[in-house]
Amino acid sequence: MTCSRIGFFALALIIAAALATPLLAHHSFAAEYDSKQPINIKGAVTKVEWMNPHVYFYIDVRDEQTGKITNWAFEMGAPAVIQRNGWTRNSMKIGDLVIVEGTRAKSGAPHGNARSVTLAATGKKLGAGSSEGQVPEQ
């Protein structure tokens, strides 16, 4: 094998590795979430990341007895998927109170896969494009 062929092969590997990196962010539901741990949780939105392959949002959940705040991260479907469920970039704003139904991560961390999100102020419920199953808009 000539030196230039080795060079091409090495370059091809580098390009393939670089292009494949974003795919690691995409994963199966069963790999990360435990369908036996359903959650229904209310909190205030602190951040929304509208991006592929999954939209993420974060809520502060306050323990009413201790006042302790836990910041939960929730995964939704891809932007194109949840837009079909009625979502826009502005559906959730910082400080909005929401009720999230979903499934907790296997790791036990404050992280889950959202199945639906109800906006507490309006009662509007939107399917979150969960890879476990979707809830139609009400």
Binding site: S4, G7, F8, L11, A12, I14, I15, A18, L19, G43, A44, V45, T46, K47, E49, Y56, Y58, D60, R62, G67, K68, I69, N71, A73, E75, I94, G95, D96, L97, H111
Partner: protein, 136 residues
């Protein structure tokens, strides 16, 4: 001809590898921060701070969704990375106290940078420590 193709591939590979560099974060205050504040090591209350930068001014809110308090007079001094902002905090008595909050950003290059400092709310003085949330 082969050398030219190799050169093109090499440039392409460099561009792909360099692409994440452009994903670096912008203003060091932007994001959500979590931590606590209080008057002593035993008197602590959880504290959430959200900050944004529109290119001209820093805006934000403390404890969004709960006793939400908008930031006022927020300023960043990039010479020493000190931060000042003010909020109007509702006290248990029902009155409102103007809180003056001054802090300093540490671990500036980290996505888990910290903001620590002191506050004065009326006659009450205390300290706070916040850590910026990492993007998932």
């Amino acid at each position: 001809m082969q050398a030219r193709a190799f050169y093109i591939c090499f440039v392409f590979a460099c561009m792909i590898i360099a692409a994440p560099v452009f994903a670096q974060e912008g203003h060091p205050l932007v994001g959500s921060w979590h931590g606590n504040w209080g008057t002593s090591t035993t008197d602590r209350t959880d504290f959430t701070l959200i900050m944004d930068w529109d290119g001209k001014a820093i805006s934000g809110v403390v404890n969004p969704g709960f006793e939400q308090m908008p930031l006022q007079n927020a300023k960043l001094n990039p010479k020493d990375w000190t931060v000042h902002f003010e909020i109007d905090r509702k006290e248990k008595s029902g009155s409102t106290a103007r809180c003056l909050i001054d802090g300093k950003i540490d671990k500036l290059g980290s996505d888990r940078r910290t903001l620590t400092g002191t506050y004065t709310c009326g006659a009450t003085k205390g300290d706070f420590k916040l850590t910026r949330d990492r993007d998932y």
